[in-house]
């Protein structure tokens, strides 16, 4: 924080040009840091007077240099902006902007701060023209600029072309979620507590007390520990808390450990396994047949005919509770699985190949299937037995 603040302050006060990258995983607070620094900067008198302009570009919005350039010109409010729109060809715009920036000198023109969010996407633009030009300006005696890139990619420097890299000043600020569980708990408490300016003071007091109790609760700690082990991303903590807090009603005014556990369960459920719960017995049977095929052929792809044969074997030898479905009905159930993307074709279905012989792959792990079967209501016993072992009918 200090580093960045100092860097930007120098840009504005001394008119020094710089470039820096803020690198950190998602949810590490890169944008928050930058915004914080900018807020602090604006509070400094000297800086505010110097009218720090900052075009903010996001790699997701400005998908090409052309768009980015127009956006910069628009945000800088240069003279070729006509009613919030920039006209003219790409080449003209580039020449114009470069000319504009070249005219400035260290001491006379307003420093500009370029913020490039999702910096890694700018790297993929053709020739990296925009980056080269921005860095080149920051390395030459023109209008003072500071280029700040935000990215989550650790290998960002390897993506830069060598001459662009040479012009980059190699200031990298790494942001990591380096806190341990104690700090994590503190964050949890802080996030959940009501602020002092909350209107109903007694309730706020009660709520905060409850939060304090929660944080000492073993069950809550377990839930949080589990989440912490999975990810240190604070956004997922927020998501979890959001789920829990949404259970709070007028009748149930305080958050309980059970709420959190419920939220955690929701948070970590397996999406595909959930789908399996909603399938018919026939479809379950088909999935089990596929699972057996996978085991026999060691993950090789299969087609409908193979699955049908496996299913037939089961029906003929073992099944007492199952009705022998006709082939078109089985086909229908199979296609339903295909639609649910529990099965994935290897190649795109073509008109020539018959649907029965289209090669497919199962997108479920055998463990997922078994777990789902345990939870499946009213599952016939013989089907369960069959699922447990492909050889059980012998």
């Amino acid at each position: 924080h200090r580093h960045l603040l100092e860097l930007l302050r120098r840009t504005t006060v001394h008119g020094e040009s710089n470039s820096a990258l803020i690198i950190g995983p998602r949810g590490a607070g890169k944008t928050a840091l930058l915004n914080n620094v900018l807020k602090d900067l604006r509070e400094m008198k000297q800086v505010r007077e110097n009218l720090l302009e900052n075009p903010f570009l996001s790699g997701l919005l400005q998908t090409s240099d052309k768009v980015a350039l127009k956006e910069i010109t628009r945000q800088l409010q240069l003279e070729n902006v006509v009613g919030d729109k920039v006209f003219g060809s790409f080449a003209e715009n580039l020449a114009f902007l470069l000319e504009a920036l070249r005219k400035g000198t260290r001491s006379s023109s307003c420093p500009i701060l370029f913020v490039l969010d999702e910096f890694d996407l700018f790297v993929h633009h053709k020739n990296q023209t925009l980056l080269y030009n921005l860095f080149d300006i920051s390395q030459s005696a023109q209008t003072p600029v500071t280029v700040i890139g935000l990215t989550c990619r650790q290998d960002i420097l390897e993506l830069l072309e060598k001459r662009v890299k040479s012009r980059f000043s190699h200031r990298q600020i790494y942001l990591m979620n380096s806190f341990d569980f104690k700090q994590y708990m503190k964050i949890f408490k802080k996030q959940l507590s009501l602020p002092a300016e909350f209107p109903d003071e007694t309730f706020a007091h009660k709520w905060n007390n409850n939060v304090q109790h929660l944080s000492e609760d073993k069950a809550v700690q377990d839930v949080l520990q589990k989440l912490f082990h999975h990810t240190k991303d604070l956004r997922s903590l927020h998501l979890l808390l959001m789920l829990a807090v949404s259970a709070v009603t007028a009748q149930h005014p305080l958050l309980s450990a059970a709420d959190l556990q419920e939220a955690s369960r929701q948070h970590s459920t397996d999406a595909k396994a959930n789908i399996v719960h909603g399938l018919s017995v026939l479809e379950i049977c088909l999935i089990i047949a596929m699972k057996h095929l996978n085991e026999v052929y060691d993950g090789e792809p299969f087609n409908f005919q193979m699955v049908y044969n496996e299913f037939q074997k089961f029906i003929q030898r073992k099944a007492h509770s199952m009705y022998n479905f006709e082939k078109p009905v089985v086909m229908k159930a199979f296609e339903h699985l295909l639609q649910l993307e529990l099965v994935q074709p290897l190649e795109r279905p073509s008109a020539r190949a018959q649907r029965e012989f289209l090669l497919l792959r199962l997108l479920l792990d055998s463990r997922q299937i078994m777990d789902a079967l345990q939870l499946y209501p009213n599952c016939p016993t013989d089907v369960k037995q069959w699922a447990a072992s492909s050889l059980s009918w012998l």
Binding site: E16, L51, R163, R171
Partner: protein, 857 residues
Amino acid sequence: MNTRQQSKLIYSWYGKPLGSDRKLRTSQYKGILITSESSKTETCIQLGDFILVEGVNADQPYVAQLMDLYEDGAQHKRAVVQWFCRLEEIPQNKRKLLKREISAQEVFFDQVLGYDTDIAAETVIKSIMVLPLHLGEELPIITLNKEQTFFVRQSWDGKCFKVLSPDTFSKLKEANKKRGVIMNSSKAFIPSDILTPVKKETESVVQSATKSKNGDMEIESKHSSSKSSLAKERHSRRVANNDIKTPTARKKLELKSPTRSKGRLLGSEVLGLLDDDCDAVAPLEPSATKRKVKFTNETLGSPPKIPCSNEKSKSTSETAEDPQRFSDTIRLSPYTKVKDFSEKDKKLHEDDDIVPLDGCQRLSSQGLVLTPRSRRMCAQKTSALIAEQISMLDGEDFLSGSDSSYSSSGEEEEDDDDDVPCTPEKKTKSSRIFSTPKSSRKSAVHTPAKTLKKTPLQGTPRTPRNATPEIPRRIQAAQEPASVLEEARLRLHVSAVPESLPCREEEFQDIYNFVESKLLDGTGGCMYISGVPGTGKTATVHEVVRCLQQAAENDELPPFQFVEINGMKLTDPHQAYVQILEFLTGQKVTATHAAVLLAKLFSTPGPKRKTTVLIVDELDLLWTRKQNVMYNLFDWPTQKHSKLIILAIANTMDLPERIMMNRVASRLGLTRMSFQPYTYKQLQQIISSRLKGVKAFEEDAVQLVSRKVAALSGDARRCLDICRRATEICEFARQKKSPEMVRMAHVTEAIDEMFSSPYVGAIRNASLHEQIFLKAILAEFRRAGVEEATVQQIYHHHIALCRMEGLQSPTVSEIMAICSRLGACRLLLVEASSEYLHMRVRLNLSQDDVMYALREE
């Protein structure tokens, strides 16, 4: 000038050779005849005339005075000229010397040495007017064709402006005078071939008949009085040239010419007379006289009034003889004047229909005096005028003289001072247009096409082109560095340009010598400069150019133009043409057009061309599939007349061999230079030279930085950045203690910060399951022996590991989330997520790094 280029022009000599030089096998001529095939116009330009010469920029032809015309041994028509230069041709920094506003019409008597005054006669476009003025003199108001007239006040010798010496001044005046005379004779050519004589004849008979009704007796008296006049003589000459003309036409010509000259020359006197005598013309008079006042002022204002003085005296004597006739002529003259002016107005505001119509109305109102028949004539004439006006819309017709009527009207304006032939010319013209509707229609059809062509070129500007690219000024002045460290940091910034470039003296000298020799020879050449980034290629080349420019200013070298393009700053390789052309001439055109113009520019011998030094930075980005941009760039210097020196800069040493086709590489030539990466000693020298006088760094610290960087890349930029960062760290640490210098510790910290691998830190700070996932990957890799695995395989390992650790095993969805997070950080390389469990995963760093990072805990 488009029209000019389109219509084929034939240049032929006028008259017999004046003299010839046997030894040189040249023969000299006194004039040149420019015939345009498409419009059947002939223009004659004589020695001493002022001319426009084709230049680099099609919209800004050069101004010159024709000094000599000759045909050399190889039958090439050559011309020797005295140049005038426009303001645009004077370098920006010198313009300040003028200390006054310069109108677009002002030119400078060019005394710069080194311009080739011997040009091909084919480059002459047409003749114009150049009026010498004294420095203090006001610019005369020109209501006439603005593009045709220029003014000279000062001379320019490449360094400063001087007032015209009286000698040159009088010479210029002389030229104007002489021209007046010559013009008359040349004028005679124009109508002769174009007119359908019979029609014109009859027409003029009709005209003169109608006119003579008013001035019956005047014609009589004119016949007698003008016998002795100069006009008569000229007229006879004209008849000799153009023997088709009938006496009636001649009569009419005479009738008109003196009156006009009088009307014009007598100025205010005429006005007075007009008031007295011309009651009949009263309704029209005020406007007409107003215009006339303007006109007379103008003629008075323009210096070359003198040649007409003898005429003036003659005509005044005539007036004295015959006041009656004079009043009559006045009555006629407004008519011509009005027409005259309406035409001029048309030229000025081209689409202002009202003015010519006004004129027509006036004509008809004047018709009160004239007979009904003549009134009809007027109507007919106005229709002709309107037709003409359409064609007039294109002001260029006029310049090119592609249409006879315009050439004549153009000359008419040039002839303001020698008056006499003007009026008849106009008369014949108007009658001609009327009588040969075919031609006028043709021209009318002709011109819209031209105007259409012209307008898109000028373009309706989509962006406000005049917008000045500028960043708003800062309110507060930038702070000056306060401490030693800040000062050091300022100096260490890459942008801080040092006075000299240490460690690149040899390269500097080589490049300097190369460019200097080419400049002195006036030839072209290429040089290829390569080197890894940050070795000072661009800086050195810029330094060379700076030194050369200084030398050129001190007159040690011929002056040259300097153009720089950067492949990275172009959106498309073809934009290079546009930028070069814009630098050279200031034109803005499309890429393809620019390529054509540049090719023309460099392949044809230009008269006033300076050598151009072109720097092409980041050459490899100009690569296209057909390589035509590079080919053209390197082809131009090999042209005989190009005078182009190219310094191409790129990173790769073997670029010519690697990506260029043979024909491009061979044109690039073998003059190469490669910049070696800096050694640590050089880097040390660079830093210490920048820090001279500032005691901020320990000697050892500097050495450490330079050794470290030299071992890695030899990039000076990196070196300076590290030093800068070190000062920051030092400053940060200093706040607690007393001020100190940058020590080893600070530098080490800065280096660590810049070169440390981010991966290890990222892994150490990852969550537990992320680390387990990485372990699972390693285990899977070891099992399979392949550095790639699907998520499904890794998932099994992951669960196994979780069991060992006694943790709850995650669901597949959670595993996918972990996988995508690691993928976003690029610790892993993952496939598209549609594959789900079968998604293949690879490590983006070596297994050992992962092991190292995980084992530490």
